[in-house]
Structure formats: structure tokens, C-alpha cells
Amino acid sequence: MEHHHFTGERTLMRIFIGERDRYGGHPLYEALLRLLRERGFAGATVIRAIAGFGAQAKLHTDKILRLSFDLPVIIEVVDTEERIQSILPDLDDMVDGGIVTLERARVIMYRPHDLPEDERWRDRIRGLDDAEGQADE
């Protein structure tokens, strides 16, 4: 598995865009998600917000029907600094308007669903007091 020892100091990238932004005939968040998957990123999460405003100070909120057509969407990506850096030229091309932030993140757990028991021990959350003494390699 490519991201097996993924825990540790990583970079969290957040891309703030609008629900209605599009790229290549698809919603921009879908296009970004597809790109991140194709480039083998560890994972990404798309979150739709309930309200917000951006560079044009235009209010978006799901409370008022007329202002609910372009709600904020956030794509959160955690990966190595190098991999994040490698995607930035594509982002610059694809994201028309928005904000991209980077911050340091400490990944303490990264594992897929349904791991067999013996492998699950190796991927335990870092720093947990471990009675069986098998957690840290």
C-alpha cells in the first residue's frame, strides 16, 4: 500500500471555492477530486458550507433561497509537502476564484476500513498508551 506509513508531519491544504464553479464541463470540486485521485493523493474530503462570502463580499447562505445557489465548498487534502506542492500549478490553472491555504498537520491515524486484526495494530493511533506494547514499530 502506497501510503502505509503516512502518519507524521504532513501538510493540510484547503481549497475554498463555490458550488457553482465549473471546470471542463464538470463541477470544479469533482474535477479537483478526480485529479487528486489520479495523482495518488492519500485522500481528500469535500465539504459544503451553509454560508459565507468571498473576495467580492457577496453573501451566500442556504437560509435564503435567492442566495443559496452558490454555497461555499471546501476541499481538504492531507498529504506530504512535496505532493501538495506538485499539484499547485494545476490548481492555479483550474481554480478561477477562491482561496487556497496550507498548514502543517500531524497525522496520527491513517488506515483503510476492514483491516485484518494483525495489521490493525500496526496502524493504531499514534501516542496511545498501548498495554500490549505493539503499537510503535
Partner: protein
């Protein structure tokens, strides 16, 4: 013919709502649905005023389907009023929800009565 005038009035009414409501909501810049409120109040006035005029003159019935059913019907929006009221209530915004619910009904009703009165005054002066 009736369907055509309703469709035409409806298209114009819906677009008017979109632009008027959007402009007012952006100008208000708050989480209170002022755009819908203004649209419903002005639409209520307009419908009463137009019906007062159309009933008091020999206007062809096509005007009624165009302006009253089509335009005013699409310009005002009860479903958006319900939707936004529900959203305010779900969010626990009791104050805003009360003002919106009571205000929309009371002010729209007042606007309707003023619309009738305005039409009557206008007809009496002819």
C-alpha cells in the same frame, strides 16, 4: 390563448422576482429574507391594484390572465416564504422567524387593501 398569456406573464413575473428579490437581498446583506418579503408585499399590492382596475374597466379578460394569474402569480412566492420560514425555525431563530411570518402576512394583507383603495381612487378620478 389563456395558457399563452399566463405563460408569458409567468415568465416575466418569475424573472422580475429573481432580479428584484436578488437586488434587495444583496442590498440588505443580512440573513433576514427581506427580498422575498418585499417581493410578496409589492406583488400583493400590484395584484389588488390591477384587479381593482381591470374589474372597474372594460379590459379584456386576457389582461387578467396575463397580469394577475401569470405575472403576479409568478412574481410572488408562497413556497419560498414557507421554505425560508422553516429554515429560520430550524435554526432556532425565533425572533426573525416571528417577524418574517407575522410581518409577511400582515404587511401583504395591508398592501392588498391599499392596492384596492388605490385602484378605486384612480377610477373615481377618471
Amino acid at each position: 390563448m389563456t395558457a399563452l398569456t399566463i405563460a408569458l406573464g409567468g415568465a416575466l413575473g418569475a424573472l422580475s422576482r429573481w432580479f428584484v428579490g436578488g437586488w434587495i437581498q444583496r442590498a440588505a446583506g443580512s440573513g433576514f429574507p427581506l427580498g422575498t418579503l418585499v417581493v410578496n408585499v409589492t406583488g400583493s399590492f400590484l395584484l389588488a391594484f390591477l384587479m381593482g382596475l381591470l374589474e372597474g374597466t372594460a379590459a379584456p379578460p386576457a389582461w387578467r390572465s396575463f397580469l394577475a394569474v401569470g405575472f403576479c402569480g409568478a412574481y410572488t412566492t408562497f413556497s419560498t416564504f414557507s421554505f425560508e420560514s422553516a429554515r429560520l425555525l430550524q435554526g432556532g431563530e425565533w425572533g426573525r422567524a416571528s417577524v418574517y411570518l407575522v410581518g409577511s402576512v400582515a404587511v401583504s394583507l395591508a398592501a392588498t387593501l391599499i392596492g384596492f383603495r388605490a385602484a378605486a381612487v384612480l377610477l373615481a378620478r377618471r
